[in-house]
Structures are given as structure tokens and as C-alpha cells.
Subunit: 274 residues, 2 copies
């Protein structure tokens, strides 16, 4: 495995690391293309703001960048994961005053999805498990991910690509590992994530490109009813990009023009930045 | 460090372990006295029920017992931590169908608290951070402990022993790493933990010993008001035992007869089982 732990070629961490003991840390998952981790600045920005929210000193961007370059320089296509933890500590929840932060970077193989997935869309289900708002933790891509683990393990059918998570039976938030967008009468809509959920870097990129393309955008409350009556639905994630949704339980969708325009815009944007 | 990872003398885990990546695992902390981990059966019972709730195959009790014996056989006084995770996995929240569970057992030095702490009691504060109920995770001693980490890091004053956590401004739940008991008119009361919180093994032992001693017990809703008007207040935890509370913010308490009786009962119980 291509991995660096605090800059060394290692693949393990101490059993006393607070990342393991308490999930006391954060992560980012980046697409690597032609040796470049895409949207690097935005991922680092979110990582740093997460560190600040948890009170973890964030490693210098230059260190993370040079370690990412060491791993990615010969990679055509890969997935780069960055994990920052509060490091090892003594017994108990109290953090060391001067934590010795753990940096973990590692590569995974690029998942080759079939082109039909992007053309025809995927099937999605509604998860039973709810996302519970938690002040002070909303929007932070931390390592306490049991709600997502339990939601994702509600199904094993490989024909179901993702599961949607609601805050209440009415409030749509996101999918277990993706954000969700609806298109209604040409307007792009996505759930507000100030109470719970993680605003993805790809979501942010899509909203920016939509505005540049003159597509009206609305971030707000979205319900199961709004989902059912949407003209188009798609999922977004830094690795998978824009994945059209063909079906949510018994509701079917066509892959529509706004989805196609945004897929093209992402492709062009990515090509232009490399 | 005295540690066993899957039975081997190791002190590290893979960076791909789902315990680190998602907090996808459970833990127990046991007091070791004269080479014996105390209340072993109850700790294992809770660990197994947590594994079942998360869908993690639990290791055979005989394996855990033999590994605990290997670590504890020459220990007069120590703290034994057991961590079970869903083990390493490939990228994503979906668990392997046949997870290769990780077992971690390690010892920490016994924390020597001053006798005055048990005689005169400790100062406690009320944490700002709330405990948010989450169906399906309540009562499970899992590795997603950021709420406790953030609550415990609200203060560094070493004169404050613990911080109390509420579900709402009114509903008292527990302390960051202890359960709480109130005594009012001779009756022992402790918050109901079906919505959130972790029912400790020491809490269970105290309730059992209280019943045996003819002390009336009530598990129910407890408020800040009830806390303020209580005759006696104490904290419980498998390592610290029963710690009387002398002060919660500006409210003061005397260490009373029910607290003393239960401290004695725990001491006698522990002596009798060794």
C-alpha cells in the first residue's frame, strides 16, 4: 500500500491514537488525476476548518502538499485519503495540551465505474436510519461515522448505488457518502446542511459551475415530496462526480438536461485545471 | 506497553482498520485487582450486546479471557482496556460480509487518586455541550466519542473532576466518563439511559448492591432542579468506583450516609470476589 504516516512509509498507527480510541480526527477523500489531487485547496480549507472546530492544530498545508506529491507523482488515476487525528494521548477524553497530531495519507485504486452509470443513472433507496443534528459537529468531516456505517449497511444489493438519509421523515439531508441535488423547473436545488450533513467539495464545485452557467440554484429545506416530484435527481461526490439517479424506491426519473450540462461542466473544468 | 493485538504482542493497528476510519467498534475499560479484571462477565455481556447491535461478530469470550489473563497475571492494580473493531475493510462504509474483527487489549497504570477524594468529594461542572439521543446507538459503548471529547475539553482546571452532560437544558444524563446518582430522602436515583448515555457496569453494580442493602432505587428523568435539591450526589465509573460530589457549580453537597454505605458495599463486594 502507498501510505505515509507522519511522513514515514508506514501503514499502521498506535493503538493509543485518539483517532482510533474516540474518532478524534478528520478526513478528506480526493480524486487524483494525472498526479494531481483535484480541488486540493477546497479540501484543505475544509480540513483546516474542521481541525479548528475540534481544536486540533492543523498541519501546515505545505507539509500535506509535499506528502501528497510523494504519493501521487506517478499516479494516473487514484483515490487519496488524508486523515488527521489528535494523535496519541494518555487515558481519558481530555486532550493533551500540545497534541502530537497524526497525519495519514494513503492511496487506493481508482474505482472504474461503468460509463452506463453516468449515462443511465443509478438506483437509490431511502435509509431507515436518520441523521441526528448535533450542534458543533455539523459540517465537520470527522471520524465518528457510525450513523453512515449503519445506514450503508441497511442493504447489500449491488444494484442499489446509494441510500438517502433524512433528518426527520420529512427533511432530506444527503446520501450515506454523497450529496444530493434536485432539478425542478430548471432550477437546481440541494438541501441546506447547516443542521446536519457534510457539504462536499464536489457539491461546492457544482454550485459554483451552475452559477457560472446561469443555472438558478437554491439551498434550502427539501422533503421526500419534493424529491418525488423533481424532474431530475443526481448525487455528487469527489470520487464519483455527478451520478444521475434513475430511481428512488418506486419513483423513476429521466436523466435530464441540467444534469447533462453539469456533468459536461465538471468534465471541462477538470480538464482545464490539469 | 503491555498490549495484545489479535493475540500478538503489538501496539499498532492498520490505517485501514474501520475502528480508526469510522469509529466502527466498541470498547470496555476494566479495573484489574490482584490479577483479576473486575466484573468481567458484565463487561463482556455489554461488549457482546454492543457487537450485536452494530452487527460485528463478537470474539469468543474464552479468547478474550485468555488474552486478558496473559496481560493481567502479574498485575496488582491496573486498567485493562478492550477494543473490538470491525477490522480492516476496503474503501467505503459498506462492511465486509465476513469481517476480520480486530481485538485490542492493553494495560494502563492504575490511577492513584488521593483518599481525600473519596472522603470529601470532588467539584463538578455542567457542560455546555449536549448529549443528542440517537436511536440505535444509545447505550452502546462505541468508538464514536467526539461528544464526550468536546465536553471534557470545555475545561482544564484540575480542581474540576468531571463535567455533567444534559440531553436538553433540563434532562440530566451522565458525566463525560461517569454515571451520576442522586440521593433524595434516602432514595437512590439515577437518570434513565434508554434515550442516550451509557449504563456503566459500576452503575449496574451499585444498583444491585443498593437493592441488596434495602435502599430504594429509582431510574427515571432527572432535572437540573432535582440535582440542585438532592441531599447527596455521587459519580460512578468502573475505575474510580464511587466518587462523592462536593459541589456542582455553585451548589454544595455534604457527603451523606447513603453514599458512605454504598462505598462500603462496593469495597466489601470487591474484596469478597477476589
Amino acid at each position: 500500500m502507498d501510505a505515509l504516516v507522519n511522513g514515514a512509509n508506514e501503514t499502521t498507527v498506535s493503538i493509543l491514537d485518539r483517532g482510533l480510541l474516540y474518532g478524534d480526527g478528520l478526513f478528506e477523500t480526493l480524486a487524483v488525476k494525472n498526479a494531481n489531487p483535484l480541488d486540493w485547496e477546497w479540501h484543505i480549507e475544509r480540513l483546516e476548518s474542521g481541525c479548528m472546530a475540534l481544536g486540533i492544530p492543523h498541519p501546515a498545508e505545505s507539509i500535506l502538499r509535499s506528502e501528497a506529491e510523494r504519493l501521487c507523482h506517478d499516479q494516473q488515476r487514484a483515490v487519496l485519503k488524508i486523515i488527521i487525528t489528535r494523535g496519541p494521548g494518555s487515558r481519558g477524553y481530555l486532550a493533551p495540551e500540545q497534541p502530537s497530531v497524526t497525519r495519514i495519507l494513503y492511496l487506493s485504486p481508482w474505482p472504474e465505474y461503468p460509463p452506463e452509470m453516468y449515462r443511465d443513472g443509478v438506483n437509490v433507496r431511502v435509509c431507515t436510519r436518520r441523521l441526528i443534528p448535533d450542534n458543533g459537529l455539523a459540517g465537520i468531516k470527522h471520524l465518528n461515522r457510525l450513523p453512515q456505517v449503519l445506514a450503508r449497511n441497511e442493504w447489500r444489493d449491488p444494484d442499489i448505488f446509494e441510500g438517502l438519509m433524512f433528518e426527520t421523515s420529512e427533511n432530506l439531508v444527503e446520501a450515506t457518502g454523497s450529496n444530493i441535488f434536485l432539478v425542478e423547473s430548471g432550477m437546481l436545488r440541494t438541501p441546506d446542511l447547516t443542521r446536519t450533513g457534510i457539504p462536499g467539495v464536489m457539491r461546492r464545485r457544482i454550485l459554483a459551475l451552475a452559477k457560472e452557467s446561469g443555472i438558478q440554484c437554491q439551498i434550502g429545506t427539501e422533503s421526500l415530496q419534493a424529491l418525488k416530484s423533481a424532474d431530475e435527481v443526481f448525487l455528487s461526490n469527489s470520487i464519483t462526480g455527478i451520478v444521475p439517479v434513475r430511481q428512488v424506491d418506486s419513483t423513476e426519473y429521466n436523466v435530464g438536461p441540467v444534469t447533462r450540462r453539469l456533468q459536461d461542466a465538471i468534465t471541462s473544468y477538470t480538464a482545464a485545471t490539469l
